[in-house]
């Protein structure tokens, strides 16, 4: 058995093992190293106590400081909001029609609106608000189903379209497939297409679809296809076709109409954000004054 021996040269003990006359010292770890190591251990325990550090059966230990990165984010957002407080309150205090006349307010609103648009509107209407044919209307053009003044847009964003909100814009087009014959549908579809073709201006009233249109469609879409914004009835005499502009597309839409739905954002966003969105959408190029 190895017996530790005292080494007279260094003053330390040896391990007691000997290999070919060579013994090994058990030089102790330097005290500064031990001190630093113990201090590090203490700091580690301190960290565990102060900060979220380990899982528990019901979740995790939150630390005595109650710190979390999520909390930091909330604080940062609140600080950002506080920094914008003057602008935000001005946005709410100004009548919606008057916001754009104030250069600074318009800049603030469009900048904030651009960000909010990316989060809330882009999934359907597209990042550039170009819409999607057959799905969602473009917001950059001058064709508005429910009105394109900033007050109309504000109203639409707040309460939505067919959203179920009690103040939502709502209407329904009957499914004419059950009401009139396929032959009549074909005739009226041809007449509807002729409405947007200026070359048929003189001859279109002689088309077989004309009386059918006057009876069934003109009440909402207007005698000349000028549309009815009170009911969200689209213009039929323009170049824009949300659900497609071919004869087959128009016929399908008459048989079983598709009607868009947009959620009410008043339950999701605060009033300032909705106002920013209204200004942003209104200044995209098609806004009416």
């Amino acid at each position: 058995m190895a017996v530790p021996e005292h080494d007279p040269l260094t003053g330390y003990k040896t391990t007691g093992h000997e290999w070919d006359g060579i013994t090994e010292l058990t030089t102790p770890i330097p005290s500064w190293w031990v001190t630093v190591f113990l201090a590090s251990c203490f700091v580690a325990v301190l960290y565990m106590w102060l900060f979220p550090s380990f899982a528990t059966t019901g979740g995790y230990y939150r630390g005595s400081l109650g710190w979390s990165s999520r909390g930091d984010l909330v604080d940062d957002v609140a600080a950002g909001r506080a920094a914008q407080a003057t602008w935000r309150s001005a946005l709410v205090a100004t009548p919606i029609e008057a916001i754009e006349a104030n250069e600074d307010l318009r800049r603030f609103a469009t900048t904030g609106g651009r960000a909010a648009f990316g989060q809330n509107c882009a999934p359907c209407h597209g990042v550039g608000a170009g819409g999607q044919i057959g799905q969602f209307p473009a917001l950059v053009d001058d064709d508005w189903l429910w009105g394109g003044t900033i007050a109309d847009i504000y109203q639409t964003i707040r309460f939505g379209i067919r959203s179920g909100h009690e103040e939502a814009r709502d209407s329904a087009m009957p499914a004419f497939g059950e009401l009139i014959s396929a032959q009549e549908i074909d005739a009226v579809a041809r007449f509807v297409l002729a409405l947007s073709d200026p070359t048929t201006l003189a001859s279109r009233q002689q088309m077989p679809g004309a009386p059918i249109y006057a009876t069934n469609c003109a009440a909402c879409h207007g005698a000349a296809g000028e549309g009815g914004r009170d009911f969200g009835a689209p213009r039929l005499n323009d170049a824009i076709w949300l659900y497609g502009g071919t004869l087959e597309d128009v016929r399908k839409q008459i048989v079983v109409p598709r009607m868009g739905m947009m959620p009410a954002f008043t339950t999701r966003l605060d009033d300032e954000t909705i106002r920013m969105l209204s200004v942003y959408v209104h200044t995209l190029g098609g806004g009416e004054r």
Binding site: E100, E103, R106, R107, G126, V127, G128, G130, G131, A138, V140, D141, D142, D143, R235, D238, A239, I240, T283, L284, G285, G286, G287
Partner: protein, 486 residues
Amino acid sequence: MSWSETLDLRTSGRVVVRPDIPHGVSGRYRRIKTALNVAMLAIFFCVPWLRWDRGPHLPDQAVLIDLPGRRLFAFGLEFWPQDLPIAVGVLVGAALLLFYATTLAGRIWCGFACPQTVWSDLLFSVDRMIARVAGRGPGERRLRVVVWFAIALSTASGFAAWFNDATELPGLIVSGTATPGVYASLVILTGTTFTLALYARERVCLHMCPWPRFQAALLDRDSLVVTYQEWRGEPRGKARVPLRPDIGEPGLVALARQASDLGGQLAERGDCIDCTRCVTACPTGVDIRNGLQMGCIGCGLCIDACDQVMSRLERPAGLIQFDNEAGLTRRSVEKPPVSWRRPKALVFAGAALAALSISAYGAATMPGLLVHLDPQRNPPFVLMSDGSVRNDYALRISHRLARLDGVSIRIDGLDGAKLTLSAGTESASGTPLVGLGRDRSADERLLVTLPRGLSFGGRRPFDFVLSSQDGRELARVPSYFWGPER
């Protein structure tokens, strides 16, 4: 150095003890240094007070570094961050000029123009003045600290004036209404001036500055450096020892030899009487008689000190002088001329000239109007109700032209197109007018609409033309229009 009463300086022969301040000298180089110091301190403290009228909404300070506004005003010029290449050219040119000067005449930058030297030199003379007024001792030391602190604080304030309105700054600082940045820079710069320029002084040159480390790479046998003329100085001896006959006047030498009791000591000496004035006058405390060394900043004060002694001994000046390596064998008190026509010097001069010329050209041709006009590609085009086709463009514009309140925009090369702003004003002539407010920039959405009959498939180039309100064309931006394929 300044806290110890004296300083031990190792010369080649013995240890020289001098006060912690090098003693003052007078002479040619002292006069040059004083003139340069006054000039440079005047530039540092006075330039921010110069005024320059730029019209409304703009600072009227001739030279102003506007950090929050990210712009630099220099008299009639205004620089923006994107003009950095101009600054790079100036800095490269300045570095090459430094190399050029070093090649010609050693470290004259260090000795005469470096801010560290200017402030150190100022403080050495201030300290000498304090010593004269208060005498040596603890009272002197207390007085020094007060004066140093005042100098450090005014240096920091002078520096801050380059970044703020100099006329308003003193009032703002005193009333406590200056920005936190001003107070932070005051604290930091007072601290650094106090420690580096006032307390450390020449130790910065000796131990911290990297420049002495590679000066040797720039010097050659034709560079003028402070040189001890060993051929006429050695051997050193007391003034009463007769001069070496080869340098002295023969009659005087014989007279002196008779008069002196040599007693087995030095029989004759060179011009150097080993008075160590050159050592005690040296701001970095080197003994130049040991030859060129890293501690020598080339200020020439030892030359003045030695020339004073030489004139008192009625010997020709220039035992220590700016000389090249050849001077040590030339054995003449005549000063060698600066040798300009060396390939190395010419290359540095040419490169510096090129870099500075490029910068000057860049500064002279800086665009006054910056325009970003990006076609919006999502969607690439918009079909309108009446069948016309519209393209949208994001316009970001900023300018640094004098007195420009708005820019009118028209289209060139797209017949029949109508140009509108999504939210903006139209001028009387029908071209959209982009207003540029007090921040001299605008962010607008431009709409270009082609009527139904004129639209086309694919892409067609055209130009946006931006003009000032008086009709002067400011910029022409190439762009394109997309139409639907039918």
